[in-house]
Amino acid sequence: MSLVNYLVLSGILFSIGSIAVLTRRNAIIAFMGVELMLNAANLTLVTFGRLHGDLHGQVIAFFVMVVAAAEVVIGLAIIVSIFRTRGSASIDDANLLKS
């Protein structure tokens, strides 16, 4: 077994996350998809870090985590306020972009 497996795993997780973003209408679920994608990316970073034997990968992953946390906070807050005003957490209901 080699480190490639980790990469394959992260690829699979990433794909699943992205598809979730595409297919789920519930904002919260879609958002979780995003999180999954981020983590998949982290996994890749860490794996390569180990592959190349330096810690930068981990550091970057760390920063990703921090940023992700911030992003989650904001994102969820947005979802909540949308839910408050529109009474629904469905993405498709918020299609103000159209006209």
């Binding site: 595409l22 993405i91 498709d92 972009l97 159209k98």
Partner: protein, 636 residues
């Protein structure tokens, strides 16, 4: 030369008066016409003063250039507004102002019933001013100013009663056909500038003999074209007949005495150019000859008294053109005939006007007859004009026309024979139709309804016109009788013009002069007699007979209008309609099509933007994958 420097007043006075009349508007209705008469008379007096002054000088310094100001100082081309006072221009100035003043006086009475009399006099003054500019100009550019100015005045006066659409159309026709001629003038000036770098008489004439014949021929021909337009010569003669729509004084002044003769003036003035180009001279002569016959033939068939006079004008100017086309030997006589013609033709027009005045504006000669009993003065004066135009000695027409016929016979080759014969025949025909007019109007049985006889038409009460109208007629009649002889004594007029036309020693015609003279008179008498037999001795049908093919053709002005319409007007109208359609449908259509096409595409693309974040995300994902594939594929 102090008064010569005042020459500009000749133009200024009538111009100012016209401006005043136009600007003051109704305010000057009461006295406006008298102001007009005064202005014209003033410049007439001034003209005479200048004439006297010139006569006082030696023949060689009878030419004065009066520089006024730089008109167009445009670097390479500099045109100055200056007056050229010399025998020729002064002669014209006299004719214009003198005859003009008479006609002004006549018009005071003739137009007395018209609400717009003031405007009429404003236009008349404008015409006088423009015509004087034309003849006094010292450069072609300035001459062109007058040239177009008289065109404008004629346009305004022909269309004076423009509430009648036909009159308005006639006016427009006159102006546009003149413009066609003016194109020639413009091209001539362009060629002059290209050749000599200037358009003033001195430079052009000075360098004329040095220039190549090609350019000279172009200039000459173009000048002839211009002359044709202005002087109603073939093929641009069609407008003159319709121009009779204007009030009769206008016909007398503009379309008989002065403006229409401007073409002749132009050619005589441009003598030095024509010297260099026999071709152009020949063309001018041919045009003259053709028009001479053309007018004569048309004149024989018309029943409208003014149209007959118009036709005869055309024909007489044909004589002048012919003479002018003959070169220096003809110049003097052309002008001579022009002067005499100015007098007797104006007289006859005024007579016609007086007849119409008495007959309730009737113009159809078949509705006249035996008027000599009712309007004696008109009759006598008209008779003077008649005898003059048909050339009975010693009336003035005889002297001038006979000289032209003689000089037409001068030269070698075929030309003298052709031109001479044409001139002779023309004289005969002229005698016929003018006599026809005279007899139909004043003699024979009355063909109008005087209330007692049971003739059709409204009741007429012919009467003599007021003194304001008859006096000018009398004066002109005296001119018609005596002027020719007076000026012939010792060739005084020819010598007087020599500074301009140059001295020419006497040439022998191909036929001995007495023969020509006798033939002429015989032909004239023949024509007159014929007319007498047909229109005075025998009764004239009130309804015009069908007549021969030639007659019908002549009644239709030899189908000149038909030709114009067929060749220029109709295709032109079609062309404009097509172009208007093309402009909106094709040129503009292309633009609009582009616009609507863009809109359509926008509509289609708009559908992609459905506003669902998820589908945007999907598109993004696909795009990313595609991009990656491309990148990686390129790496492989």
């Amino acid at each position: 030369m102090d008064t010569l420097n005042l020459a500009w007043l000749l133009v200024a006075i009538p111009l100012v008066s016209s401006a005043v009349l136009l600007l003051l508007g109704r305010g000057s209705d009461a006295w406006g016409h008298w102001l007009g008469v005064l202005a014209s008379a003033a410049s007439a007096v001034l003209a005479i003063v200048i004439l006297v002054q010139l006569l006082g000088l030696g023949a060689d310094d009878r030419t004065a250039n009066v520089h006024l100001f730089d008109w167009i100082p445009a670097g390479d081309l500099t045109v100055s507004a200056g007056l050229l006072v010399d025998p020729l221009s002064v002669t014209f100035a006299i004719l214009i102002t003198f005859v003009g003043t008479l006609i002004h006086i006549y018009a005071v009475a003739y137009m007395s019933h018209d609400v717009d009399r003031r405007r009429f006099f404003a236009y008349l003054n404008l015409f006088i001013a423009a015509m004087l500019v034309l003849v006094l100009a010292d450069s072609y550019a300035l001459l062109f100013l007058g040239w177009e100015g008289v065109g404008l005045a004629s346009y305004l006066l022909i269309g004076f009663w423009n509430q009648n659409t036909e009159y308005a159309v006639a006016a427009k026709k006159a102006f546009v056909m003149n413009r066609v001629g003016d194109m020639g003038m413009l091209v001539a000036m362009m060629a002059m500038f290209a050749t000599f770098g200037a358009v003033d008489f001195d430079t052009v004439f000075g360098a004329a003999d040095g220039a190549g014949e090609g350019a000279m021929t172009l200039i000459g021909l173009m000048l002839v074209l211009a002359a044709c337009g202005k002087s109603a010569q073939f093929p641009l003669q069609a407008w003159l007949g319709d121009a009779m729509a204007g009030p009769t004084p206008v016909s007398a002044l503009i379309h008989a005495a002065t403006m229409v003769t401007a073409g002749v003036y132009l050619i005589v003035r441009s003598g030095p150019i024509f010297e260099q180009t026999p071709t152009a001279q020949l063309v001018a002569a041919i045009v003259g000859a053709v028009t001479l016959l053309f007018g004569a033939i048309v004149g024989c068939a018309k029943d409208d008294i003014k149209k007959v006079l118009a036709a005869s004008t055309m024909s007489q100017i044909g004589y002048m053109m012919l003479a002018a086309g003959l070169g220096p030997i003809g110049y003097a006589f052309a002008i001579f005939h022009l002067i005499t013609h100015g007098f007797f033709k104006a007289g006859m027009f005024l007579g016609a006007g007086s007849v119409m005045h008495g007959m309730g504006d009737e113009v159809n000669m078949r509705g006249f007859g035996n008027l000599s009993r009712y309007m004696k003065v008109t009759w006598i004066t008209f008779m003077a004009g008649w005898l003059a135009i048909i050339g009975i000695p010693p009336f003035s027409g005889f002297w001038s026309k006979d000289k032209i016929i003689e000089s037409a016979f001068v030269g070698e080759g075929w030309q003298p024979w052709v031109f001479g014969t044409v001139a002779l025949v023309g004289a005969g025909i002229t005698a016929f139709y003018m006599s026809r007019l005279f007899f139909m109007t004043f003699h024979g049985k009355a063909r109008w309804n005087d209330g007692k006889n049971d003739l059709p038409g409204p009741e007429r009460t012919p009467h003599e016109s007021p003194a304001l109208m008859t006096v000018p007629m009398i004066v002109l009649a005296i001119g018609a009788i005596g002027l020719g002889g007076l000026l012939t004594i010792g060739d005084s007029f020819v010598t007087w013009l020599e500074p301009v036309t140059g001295h020419v020693e006497h040439h022998e015609p191909v036929l001995p002069i007495p023969v020509i003279m006798v033939t002429t008179i015989v032909l004239v008498l023949l024509g007159a007699g014929l007319a007498w037999r047909q229109y005075a001795a025998s009764a004239v049908p009130v309804a015009p007979p069908t007549g021969s093919v030639l007659t019908r053709a002549a009644r239709a002005d030899l189908y000149q209008d038909a030709v114009n319409e067929g060749v220029f007007m109709r295709p032109g109208q079609h062309l404009t309609r097509t172009l208007v359609y093309t402009d909106t449908a094709v040129v503009d259509g292309a633009v609009n099509g582009l616009g609507s096409g863009t809109l359509g595409w926008g509509e289609r693309l708009r559908r992609l933007q459905n506003g669902f974040v998820r589908s945007y995300a999907a598109v993004m994902l696909i795009g990313v994958i595609g991009a990656l594939v491309v990148v990686l594929a390129s790496r492989v």
